[in-house]
């Protein structure tokens, strides 16, 4: 254990800043998860693997000499069509089934993607170098890579665009209507099948953006998908479905938590602490809900 965090305030500042910038990315992924959960009632375990796949698209562009930042535009386009394809092949058969079926089916997709990525890109940890340099703050005590600022900016931009799109456009309205009541929407002439496909595609596209940003700022590896799924699940259950400011806030909170866990417990317990936090949050939620149930009694 390392308690440097408490002795040097600059490390605390560093951890908080890193955590917030990382958390914005988590919030973007969680937004996608909340969207498909709310609309289609599906929990997608393959979410994290879609993120990593988006990262590899940006990494490939980097390998071929294109600046990886363009991945932010290319990855969502490719991922959108991939998402629609996954929907047509698998998800549309599990939409109105039991939630556990969808969890297991997407678990299968996750394993499939993980291994295909392992074949295609190798099992090395890679990152796409963006050459954005770093910013020094507070007397050179806090190091802030510009790529992290860039990624946070792009995430916020995409989130705002999506929120406006959902509010104003015809498809956005159809998606929201389907989320409220799929049957009524169908009666009123909304092609729910199309809406579902589009929702899953949008979710995959968001994952693509987040993945491209992650490949620029952090590292990617074929097997790193599951933690991203768990993080976004955690953010969604803390914030609640359809609560966007909540998603943003709890995303940042999770980011800061992770940075501190990293400093205090050591890097080898980082992923473990995320999963443990998930269990703790669910248990806390269960006791809170059961108290509410007792009031009803």
């Amino acid at each position: 254990m390392d308690f440097m965090v408490f002795q040097y305030p600059m490390i605390t500042v560093q951890a908080c800043l890193d955590g917030i910038l990382l958390g914005i990315l988590f919030a973007l992924i969680a937004y996608g998860m909340a969207l498909q959960w709310g609309v289609m009632n599906i929990i997608n375990i393959a979410q994290g693997d879609l993120v990593i796949l988006g990262g590899y698209i940006a990494y490939f562009m980097y390998l071929y000499g294109i600046h990886p930042a363009w991945g932010v535009i290319v990855a969502p386009v490719i991922m959108y069509f991939l998402g629609v394809l996954i929907y047509k092949l698998v998800i549309n058969k599990v939409v109105d089934r039991d939630l556990f079926i969808s969890i297991l089916a997407t678990f299968g997709i996750s394993i499939l993607f993980m291994q295909l990525m392992n074949f295609a890109f190798g099992a090395d940890v890679v990152l796409a170098n963006s050459d954005y340099g770093t910013t020094m703050l507070f007397n050179n005590n806090v190091v802030l890579p510009n790529s992290k600022l860039f990624s946070a900016f792009i995430s916020i931009l995409f989130a705002i665009c999506l929120v406006i799109y959902m509010k104003k456009s015809k498809l956005g309205r159809a998606i929201r209507a389907t989320a409220q009541n799929a049957r009524a929407a169908k009666i009123l002439g909304v092609d729910t099948e199309k809406v579902y496909a589009a929702t899953f595609g949008i979710n995959a596209a968001l994952c693509g953006v987040a993945g491209a940003l992650i490949s620029i700022t952090f590292t990617i590896h074929p097997y790193m998908g599951l933690p991203y799924t768990i993080r976004s699940f955690m953010i969604v259950i803390v914030a609640g479905l359809g609560n966007l400011p909540g998603v943003a806030m709890s995303g940042m909170g999770l980011g800061v938590f992770e940075e501190f866990a990293d400093y205090i417990l050591g890097t080898e317990f980082r992923i473990g602490s995320v999963f443990l936090l998930l269990v703790l949050i669910l248990v806390y939620r269960r006791f809170k809900l059961s108290r509410k149930r007792e009031y009803l009694k």
Binding site: I103, L104, A105, G108, E268, F269, F275, L278, F287
Partner: protein, 350 residues
Amino acid sequence: MNKNNLILYSCILIFGLAAPFLFPAFKVQLSILCVLIVLASTWNIQGGEMGYNSFGNILFYGLGMYLCASVQVGMFFPLAEWTESGGEKTFVHTPTQFFQGMAVGLVVAAIVPTIIAGLIGYSILGLRGHYFAICTLGLGVAAGEISGGIEIIGAGQGFTTPPFPDVGSLEARGEFFYFLSFFTLILTFIAVRSIYSTRFKLILNAIRDNEDKAEAMGIETMKYKIIGWMISAFFCGLAGGIMGGLVGYIDSTDVAFDGREMGVFMVLMAILGGKGTLWGPIIGATIFHIFKEGFWTFFLGWQYVALGVLIVVIVIYFPEGIMGWLREKYPERFGEVVDEKDRKAQVELK
């Protein structure tokens, strides 16, 4: 027990006892099959009968594995030095020490996970549906990540279980582990079968069908849920202990808490065979094991791709499993009274 059943059981028993001598090359595979059947049938107690689909039974399996090996080493030698020396053996178990250690280790491996299941059961089993599934998934992965950071059980470099002592015969190791796992399988089968013929099973089914109603009828659902989970944990721990000795090497995320493989296998085997039946998980595990070994041997490298596709196909097209399909096809054989006219009418409706 009627006459047909008796013949069936004695056939299986005789086959099981003779198998290592009939197929000496497949002893390890047969032992793994026994362990898989144990895992699938005990997953079925709370996954199939109780309706609490858990990805987290791997937690008990991994715990059992580590506990059994640690006790086996720790009873006679300092544990820290053992794990530090890794592959180079400075200590050697004599046969008596090995078997004594294994016996005590298995008892500990079965009991400690049961107690842990009881302790965490109250908090975890209050979750419903997918929250329970994701929470147990998190538990399994967290256990793997955390045990990968603990020095005394080998941390990231793994833990070598005590090698089988030299008792004069080369075949002894395979036979010992085969009969150990086969005995566990029989024990599990008897336990599961007797559970399924009691009121306890009906309570579990009531919880699955409608938990609130079951509670309203005066059943203390939480108590029975915890007991159901503890039974699963007991056999998972036992299976883990045996598997640890069989594999000979424990790695935190790849062997013990392998939620991506074994944790999903249990669920998949039970679903493939048919959730909520006695024979379903057994049939499912056997078919799955044969399929898996075929793929692992002939398509090495592509096995996980095949596994992913297999999961998707099974879940989408056979959610009822083999037993469910048979039940639909031959309902008479499952003791369901079917009215011929009614059946014809239904076929016509389709």
